[in-house]
Each structure stands twice: as C-alpha cells, then as structure tokens.
Symmetry: D2
Subunit: 411 residues, 4 copies
C-alpha cells in the first residue's frame, strides 16, 4: 500500500475502539507520519481514559493525545440551534449523527493548526454520509488540509484482513470484536443510531437487542410522568422549574425519555451518497424536546414566522444531513431561524407515557394566545366578525374571476 500523498502529521478522530486503532497503526505504517489522536466526549457514554491508554500503547506521544469533553458545546452550539428549526430529515429523523460531525471536524482542524499537522483522518466508511460530513467540514474550515480516509484507501477488504492487520501490529482485540458486529452503532448525547447487517432487510422488525438507549414502550411504567420544560429564546433552560446547563438538561431528558420508552425510530432514509439505507434511531431526550419546542412556539410565534420556518425547514434539515453545517446557506437559514426565537420563552407541560410525548399545557408571558391582546382600549375588540365577509370576498375575488371565465367560455 503506497500512500496517496506525502503527509507529515495527521490528526485522527480516535475513539479508542478496534477500528480506529487499526487506522492509527495503518496511518503510521502507510504514511510514515506522526499521528495525533483526538478523542471527544460528546456523550456517547464511554470513558475517555481507556482511549488515552490505548493511544499510548500504540505509541502515540502524550503531547499528541488530545481529549475534550465537548458535551456542553455540542448541545449548546449545535443541538439547540438545530432544534430551534424543528429540523427533521425526511419528516422523521432528528439528525443525531449528522449534527455531531461538524463539531468533531472543527476540533480536529483546530488541533491540526495548533500542532502544525498537515492532514486529518477519520474512521467513516466509504459508503455512508459521515465521510461527507467530516470532509466538507474539514475543507470548509481549512481548505488546504489533506484528508486521509482509510476506508476508501486501504486494501483491507474483509473483517479477517482487519483482524490480521491488528494482530500483526499488536493491537489488542477484545473478544467480542473478532467477529463481524451484527450491526454498527453511533452514539452521542443526542442519540444512538444502529444500522447494517441484522437491520438490512427493511421488511424485518428491528430485534430487541439492538436498542441501547431506550426501554421499549411495553416495558415502560404504567403511570405517566408529567414534566415541565422551561424555554428561553428558543432554547430549553430548565426541567420542572430547575435551571440546567444544556448538556445537563439533555442528559436529564434522555433519562426521562428512556424509562418512558420514548424516541425509537425505525427508518429507511435516503443517503446523500445516493442509496437508501435502513437505520434505527434512539433519540429519547430529543424527541421530547422537539415536541416541547413546537408547543412553546405555538403560543409565542406569529403565524407568518411559524409558517416561514416550516417552509424552509426541509432545506435546513437536508443541509445538516448532507454535511453542509459550515456553509453560507446554512448560516443564512440559521440567521432567519434565530431571528424568530426572541420571544420563544415560556413553559411547556408534557406527559410522558409509554412512548408518547403528549403536550398538555403551555404558557408564556409572551403568549400571543391571549384574549386581552386583541381587546383594545374602551373594550373595543380587534376582531369583528363582519370583517370576515370582506376578508373572504377579497380572497375569493380571483377564484370568482376564474369561475366567471369558465362560465363565459362554457367550460
């Protein structure tokens, strides 16, 4: 295997798992370059310590090991802005994987600039969306960076070859990692996704053992949990009256969602790279949050603002799904969305019950649903039902004209 380009130092998005450990070693042996590892805590539910140990074991110098707890940044600067848009890809998917990639890429590029690396690398495969999301972000942030995508470059074509490579390079292999995984998982504070192998036939139900983040609706408590979520300018800031940081709040919502069987989604989606793919998503807290955000908007957002948001949402969601977080058009849409959230402040009451997220109340000092608002001085009310006649007549005028044309022409 000859390297495709000369590289001196590469920053690898490193999880500490077998696959990225193989990549680490492959980078060293193929490119003969210095490898810098970057491991982020985005709430995937794994300790960072073992990743450090493994990196050291594989010969990475301590000063080349970077670890960050990005949970607060992730939720505050990526998840929440996206939820302001009520973003759902293809009507249903809350974009849990898509939204994490730009942040990881951004930190990799920052580290590359800090340590003087000329390349970055990731462990995403050649058939998925993640390679696109990583690489579009890398290129947008540092256009002259070299990108190494091992899964597209190497000639390790099977699980056996990977394992052989690992053994050959003294990479420790956990027992349960020898065989092919029955499905692959991505996880962060917003969600866990599973796809591949046992999930490949979209006619077959997702087996129970695939779920990791949520209890099933059937095994959830028989009694509903009622909660309130407080919003401020479009973002959630508290649960049951208690103020919380973004990551703390999402963690808490995840717990509430999990035990109440909330947030499972079995989906066949269209990948940016052109094929369909079947995935299973668990987004317990996000599912609650999405419903709550729509509820608080329903009383604080004007119709014109709300409908405009709905109209541009599919495009916004598609941009994030496709990896264009760091694009001018995503930023322009974000400006539009953020502009609308100034008064999206108040409290939503929700019932969580066996998979259901039920809005049962919403209130706000900024509520536009307020009888008093349409009552003016001296008791005069803004709405006079006689106005409706004129309203209808002028709205009907063009339709009547069309009708007259038909009549005139005998159609």
């Amino acid at each position: 295997m000859a390297p495709q380009k000369a590289v001196k130092k590469v920053v690898l998005a490193y999880s500490g798992g077998l696959d990225t450990s193989i990549i680490l070693k492959w980078l060293q042996t193929t490119y003969g370059c210095e490898v810098v590892t970057f491991t982020a805590d985005l709430g995937q539910g794994e300790e960072l310590g073992p990743a450090r140990d493994k990196a050291l074991l594989l010969g990475i110098k301590p000063e080349n090991i970077f670890m960050d707890d990005l949970r607060e940044t992730f939720v505050k600067d990526y998840v929440f802005p996206m939820f302001r848009a009520n973003a759902m890809y293809e009507g249903l998917y809350l974009l849990g994987t898509s939204i994490a990639r730009p942040l990881i890429a951004k930190r990799q590029i920052e580290i590359a600039e800090q340590v003087g690396a000329d390349a970055v690398s990731h462990g995403a495969t050649g058939k998925g969306n993640d390679q696109v999301r990583f690489e579009l972000s890398y290129y947008a942030l540092k256009p002259d960076i070299t990108i190494i995508a091992p899964w597209r470059e190497w000639d390790l074509r099977s699980r056996e070859q990977l394992i052989a490579f690992a053994e050959q390079h003294q990479i420790p292999i956990a027992k349960d990692k020898r065989g092919e995984a029955p499905f692959s998982v991505d996880a962060n504070l917003l969600h866990a996704s599973s796809e591949g192998k046992v999930l490949e036939d979209p006619a077959q139900e997702v087996p129970d053992y695939v779920y990791s983040r949520t209890d099933g609706p059937e095994s959830a408590p028989d009694k509903a949990t009622v909660i309130t979520i407080d919003f401020k300018e479009g973002d959630p800031v508290g649960i049951n009256g208690q103020a919380m940081s973004p990551a703390t709040l999402l963690t808490k919502l995840n717990e509430l969602g999990k035990i109440n069987g909330i947030g499972r989604l079995d989906l066949v989606e269209n990948r940016f790279v052109g094929m369909k793919s079947r995935g299973m998503y668990e987004t317990p807290g996000g599912t609650i949050l999405a419903m709550a955000h729509r509820a608080i908007e329903s009383i604080t957002l004007d119709r014109g603002a709300a409908h405009l948001k709905d109209e541009i949402m599919p495009k916004y969601a598609e941009l994030i799904y496709n990896g264009f977080w760091f694009s001018p058009e995503r930023e322009m849409l974000q400006a539009l969305i953020d502009k609308s959230q100034e008064f999206v402040t108040g409290t939503v009451r929700l019932k969580l019950y066996k998979g259901n997220v039920i809005t049962i109340g919403r209130e706000s000092v900024y509520s536009l649903y307020d009888q008093d608002l349409v009552t003016f001085e001296e008791g005069a009310v803004a709405y006079d039902h006689r106005d409706a006649a004129g309203f209808i007549k002028l709205n009907a005028l063009r339709l009547r004209t069309l009708g007259q044309r038909k009549k005139k022409l005998g159609l």
Copy 2:
C-alpha cells in the same frame, strides 16, 4: 332584521341539529325564501333520518330535502389525495375539518344548480376558518352565487336569544342543548375536533370527557396490535391483506386506532382569520395512515421526489387549511404530488400500541431499497466507494474557495 339581499331559494348545509334548525327558520323568516336542505353523511357518526324528519317538521317540502352518503367520495377524492402529500398543518394537524368543507360546498352548489337556487348558506361562525373554507369553495364553483352566513348577519347575540328564537318558532330543543355547550365539535370519517370554552386555556390539560373518538393510551390494551396496510399508487387499498373500499378502510383504521389510543392531538394553531386557537383533534385512522404512507414512500420514492414533496408540503397544507382546495395552485401542487405516486405500491407492517404507531416493516415489488438494483451485469456494482472521494471534493470545492478567501484576507 332586514335581509342583506333579495334571495328566492337557498340551499342550506343542514345537520339537523339545533343551530342549523334555527338557521333554517331564520332564513325563512328573514329572507322569506324557499329553503332547500342538504344533509351529508361524511361519517360524522349520526343517522341522517332524524335530519329529514326535522326538516319536514320545520316545513321543508320533501323535494327540497337532499341527503347524500358521501363517505366514499370524501375518502377517495379528498382524504386520500391529501394523504398522498403527507400533509400536516403546522407540523402536526392532519386537516380533518378542513378537508371536508370543499366537498360539502361542492354538493351544495350542485344542488343549487339542480333546483335553481340563487343562494347557499352554512352554519359556520364568524370567527373561524370554516366560513372561509365554505365560501371560497362556493365562490370558486359558482362565482355569482349569493352567500348567506347567518352567524355574521343576525342579531342573535347569546345562547338565550338563540333558545328564545327557537321556542318562538317551535323548533324542538333537546334538553342538553338549552345551556351553552362546554365545547364545540366537528366530526367526519377522518376525525373529530373539539374547541372552545373548556379548552380555551392552552395551559390547561384537555379534560377526559372531551374525547369521543379515541380511548386514552392508558386504557388501551396491554398487548400491541400488529397490522399490515397495502398501498397501491399512493393510496391504501387493504388491511391485513383484505381489500377494502376507501371509506371501509378508513372506518377500519379508525376502529384500530380508537382501541389502541391513537390519534389524539392537543394543539394551538394559527387560524387563517388571524388569531390563535386551541383545539383538540382525534384522528385515529388518519394518524395510522400518515405514518404508513411515509413508510411505503420511504422504499418506493426516490430522494429527489421525496424531498421535493417535503418542501412543498407546508404550502399545500396551508392551502387546504385556508380553504383553497378549489384553487389553481392547489391543483398544480396536486398534479406534482400525484405524479410522484405511480410506484408507491406495497405493504407496510405497523405495531399499534397505547398511542404509538410504530413502523416495523415495509416491502414492495417497486422497492428502490434493493441490493440487486445497484448490482449490474457481470457482478459490477454501481457503488464504488472511491467515487465518494470525487463526490466530496467537488461538493467541497465552493466551500474550499470560501475558505481560501477568508485565509487570503486574513479573516
């Protein structure tokens, strides 16, 4: 009360209830015109017989009493075309009331032309959307029609006055109709909606007694019901392998939804006439159908088609909500949507459980999720992961150029 215009014969959308009976009498006494009643069965769950009896009792000539069972037409020509679009108003509302109005209006106009009536009338109030939906439809179909909207014209300002008017004109008053209803209801085969009075505070949970079409999730069976729905060219045609007519099928889905606690929605929405309104909707069968339609589309619709549909959906839903069913732009959007449904054929498997509609499988002879489809003669596969590199690079080119500009300018 002087009539606003001279009218000889009017076709009234007549339910047989107290309010439209008062309108009937008010039309006779105020306009001195012949009243023709039209009562439709749209699956609201009431017999038509009593409406006929009441009309006769109120002096309507038998030849002036029109009754139609429109259930099949309603589902086939209005509900199903709308569901092809995955239409949801403000992200959540399945448009159950909105979609019935154009059909009622259309039949009224047809009857008006048949009997030579010069006017039509309806019982919708002056503050809601329904007056708009009725009247835009009337005007579109018969631009020179006279419309009488009693609630905007008369000076009956309170329940007491209405009751007094009824008593004065020997209109029978059911005991429970004397007082003000605690909320108002609209129902048809697709849904029941409730609004007003006890529902007016959006901070307060909907009381249990308001629900009429669905059992609560809590009282639904502890065991899930698994069903399949067969689709043909975008429309459902069978349940559990048994072919059914449109109305029969929706009726069956309503039963399944009802017992499994499916389809409740508590919503604050934006009315076309300008204010916010809180409503409670029960759409048991429609909720199942909406999820199933997305599922069958997920394997049979191409990404380009699916995303285009998602992008235009909010506008389509808004048009129906606002009453523009009979407008060129709704028909243009329908042409676009229908064009996409040619291959939306196949079967979806769903689990119904305590309020949840869970897609657990989908299959189709037209499935685009098919490994074979992307495998070509001689075993060559259409997807080569090395193609992804070029795909990403050209997609990134403009982002890199932007990045270079920043760099060049030292930004």
Copy 3:
C-alpha cells in the same frame, strides 16, 4: 355623512394636492377633529413649501404641520435593503410604490404618538394595494390606532362631487384638476408609476405622454454611457469612483437612466386585493442598480448563498408588495439576506445604451472567481477532473436505481 367612530386628532398623510386637501377638509367636517398634516419628501419631485401654504390656508395650525425630508432614510433603510434581495414582484416589478408606504406610515405613527393623535388617515383608494400597505403598517406599529380611509367611507362618488365639495369648502382648484386625470401617478426617488384610464386596456400601448421619468430608448443618445458602481456589503456607495450618500447616488443613477432610456416597464400585475391591474413603471436608477447588484453578487457570493436567495426572493417580494414590511417573516427573510451580503463589495462596470443596462465587467477583492483561490500550496489545484467521475457517479446513483427498477419491471 356620520363619522364611523369618534376621533379627536388625526394625522393625515398630506401631499398638498387637491385630493388630500379634500380629505383634510372632509376629516374636519365629518369627524370634527383636529387635523395634523404630514408631508414627506421621498423624492417625488415636488417642493414641500406649497403643501405647507395650503395646509395653513385650510386652517391647519402651524404646530400641526409636519414636513420631513425622508429621502436618505428612504433609500438607505428601505430601498437598499430591498435591492439586496434582488426583489422583483412577478418577475419584473421593482416595487417602487410598495417600498415607500411603510416609511410614510411609520412617520405618521411617530407623529401621532408625539402629538397625542388617536387616528391616522391616508388618501389611498379602496381598490388598490396602497390602502393595505398603509394600514398594515399602521396596525403593526400601533395596534390600537384608529384608521380613517376616506375613499372607503365617504359618499363622494364622482369627480363632480369631489369638485363640488372642494368648491363648497373654498379649497383652491388648479385648472387642470377640474376634469378627471387621464391616469394616476405615484412617484418617489425610486420610481414613478402610472395607472388607470388611458392605461386600462392591456392590449393598447402606453401613450408617450404618460412617461415622466424617462426618455424613450429611441430618443436616447446614440453613444453608450459607461459607468462604474462601487458596492460595499451589498449596497452601492459610489458612482465612477466617487462616494455618494444613498439618496444622492440613487438620484444620480436616475439621471443616468433617464437620458439613456432605461427603466420603463409595462406590466399587468396581480393586486393583493384580488384583481389584475395594468401599470406602467419608470424605475431608471433602480433598473441599473438591480442589474449591477446581481453582477457584483455573481463574483462575491457563493452558489449556495446565491441560490438560496433566489429561492426565497419571490416570497420576499410578495411580502413587500402586499404590505407586510413590518412583519416577522419579512424581518426573518431580511436577516437571511443581510447575512449573505458581508462580502458583496467591489465594482461593476456597466454600459447604458438606449434602454439597455449591460454588465461589461465586475471586480472585487472578495472575488470567488479567482484562479488562485483554487490553487493550493505546492501548486496543487483543488480541481482534479478525475473527481468529476465520482461526483457524477454518486449523483447518478439514484437515477440508475430508478432505471434498474424500470428495467426489472419491464417498464
């Protein structure tokens, strides 16, 4: 004529012409209220002095006469933001009338609050868009304001009655104002529009005498005028290298456009109030500016940004045309547009010739059309034509899958 509501003090948008003078008097006599006049210079090409004299003559107290030169504000805060969007209503109309109304309304409301007036009034007729634009703005800025729209209220039904009313109230009548005008005109620094009477048949060419702001292409010089326009962050800031204030610049462009026969438009448009209307617009400077702005964007704006702008433009233009300048959705769209203009800086060279505005050059330090930008360190170029193969293949994948489906099914 009885007043429709009790009013103490009203701020009238007063031009000094016959019609608004009649309105002034009618307000005094009908409402018995104090009248405050507001006359603005928006570049309509008339002195304000005579309006003051006339107001005094009609009994308005000096402290109740307000006059403002709003030209700079008009261009800077209304015209330029709109041109950032490349806004054209129905593909062609540069919105010259529409954009002036919100500013006039805003000043009227400010004066109403300053002088403690409880009402505002305008001279727009009951069939046009301007009444809507004025009144939506009034209501948005001061929801409890009383609005008097004389043309919808009074019973002066003919020119004769108006003249009689004027004579009866000693309102001076210019000789040429006795008869009905052959068409009506609205003018400001951006444009002049003409409509009505001689223009009403859309099959007939606009007579030459209707034009007031532009020379005809045929009478323009035989030699082209070449100019440059400098832009900064989306707005024009100089002509031929000379910096100018917004109103000065637009005035200069108007002169250049006028002599070169630029900016005439004969249009049948769709009014918000429901009917079609034929108008003739002269927008000499604006037509030049629109072309120039697209030209500078063409080298400084990324494709994603440019296409997003094009997609939302029709909605933005419609909002302004319909009178929703002071709406959340217009402000949201403005935020999106403004976000895109950061680097829209540079110089455009144009040839003006007998009605044509021809872009012949554009340059910018922020140009994205720059070979160097896509050349990276060590001479490596970002674009490798082999990348195109992968790019095409992945873009084609879904189309190939569709093709395979057809083939498989023998379609």
Copy 4:
C-alpha cells in the same frame, strides 16, 4: 493508455470537428472497439454532410453512422416545456446549452440499444457541466451503460499532444484549428455560448468578435420592429398571425432578435461542479420568447398559479442546469407547470428595438383582466371597496397582536 474497461461497441456524440474526430480515433485505438457515430442537427448552424464524410474517412462503417435532424423535437419537447416555466438560472441565463444535452443523450442511448452497443462517449471536458448533463442522462435512461469520457481518461494534456495524435492518425486538421481556439463555443437553435480564454477575466468586456448570433444593439436598425406572437396552451404557435412549427418559429424569432441586437448576456455563473465560470450567451429568439411568455401569462394566469410558478422556478432551472432533466423531481415540477398552462393562450405584441424587448400589448379570449368578469348578473360588481376594510383588518390581526405584546411588555 490502457482502457479503463472492456467495451465492444460505443456510440459517440460526433460533431465532425477536430476534437470529436480525435476522440473517435482514440476510442478505436485505445478500446479497440467498434465506433458508432451520432451527429444531430439541433440548429447549431452546420451542415451534417461533412460530418458523415469525415466519419467515413476515419473508417466508420456506413451502417454505423447516424444522423438526425432533431430541431423540431428539440424545440417542441425540450425548449418549449422549459419556457413554460419562465426558467432562468441565477436570474438571467436561459439555459440554452443545458437543455440540449438530455436530447442528445437520449438519442445516443436509443441508438446504443438499436445497434447493441455497450458504451456511449461524449466530447465534454472534465471541468464543465456538460459531462454531468450527458452522463446523468445516460445513466437515467440506461443504468448499466458504460460511459467513456475521453477528456477525463486520456493523457493528451495539451493542444500540441492533440494535434500530434491527430497527425499520427491521419485526421485532417483545418488550418485554423492548429492553434488553441481563443474561446470555445456551443450552439444550437436556442443559443450560442462562448467561454474560456479571452473571456476568462470577468472584469474585461467581451470582445466584439466573440459574438456570432446577434448584431450589437448599436448596429441594430434605428427603427423598431413590432411583432405579435400567438400562444396556445403556453407555447408559441405563430408570429404576426402566421402559424409556424416550433423550430420554424424559433428560427424566425432568432432572425428578428439577431437584427435587433437582442439576447446577449455576459454572465459569471456557478457551475454544478463547484467553480465559477464566465460565459457569454446569445439567445436572440429565446430572449424575445421569455418576455412574451410572461406577458401572455400576465393576463391568463391567476395570481395563485403565477406566484407558485415563480416560487418553484429557481429549483426547476437549477435541475435543468445541473443535468437532472430525466429525474422524477423535474418531471413532477413539469407536471405542476404544465397543469397551469391550459389557458395560456392569446397574443402578445412586442417592440424589438436595439436590444430591447418591450411588451406593448397582450390580449386573450381567456383573459382574466376583464372588467366583465368581475361584474355579475344584475350589474352587481364582485368588488366592493368596503370589503377592503375587513380584508385589511383580518390580515392585520396577527400584526396587531404582535404590537400589543410589545406594548404590554413595554418593548
């Protein structure tokens, strides 16, 4: 040069020029395959005979030489459907090159199936849009086709190498083809485009000698030409009252445009492959047609239909520009557009003068601009200006509510 894949027979889009002659020979020598040539007359202004002679000279068997006059098909099935949409890419470009590619590709595939070829080839370079347009079309129509794109495959890296290859293979070289062309041209009945070399600096004016299809505005006659164009269901069918076939009509419009200096466009555009490009387009007839189509729509199309068309137009134009003619979403949009054209019938009068296309009249039996249409039986008119008050009030209601919120909160 080793072939990238085994190919038996290839259908080449062959112009008869030097470049595609080199490709022809290169295919024979590199792939050792049988070459089938396809030469189409799309109105590029060249005889087909010489292409046949050249193909024979280069050893193509007579039965392998295909020549088609596609002008009528091109205009009727591609150009006119696109003009129904008023399609302009990036606000200005009439898509003359883009729209020709799918038709050429379609015929190539048809020939490939007829002669049993397993591959197709084209002469588009690796940096442009045309390779994408050709290949997406090929793949959509025949997903298992092999595509040979010589410009991306061969190692002929300079003009010198190309000429050497031609000499080596006895390909005749016209004298003026030895050196590098100062710009490259594409032409068909709709337009001619020029780009490259002398046009590469967007700050420099296009030199006069680049224009081939149009006279300059300055050299056009001093007297305007007035014409009428008749439309039927959205398509032009006659000029000055004389019925013409699609290609005849467009040819005639081209002549009229040419002599009147109409249809030049100097543009910096964004290519699908990611970079900006400067091109010069001459679309004389198309420019007239575009203006005329908008004019006939202005009186025959309802506002709802017209605005919906404007909203989706940018996406439609982008799809054609990017090469997605044979995609479900283009076909869906076409269905929407075509649905709107049923009554787009009538006559437009235009003045052509030194680069200007000026609409001076439009009439139609289907005109919606017709005072009679809004006048109903018994002289009652549909528009009552008092209706405007209600119309405005209900449109203002949400804005007033927003205003009240601000006031209540002291904002």
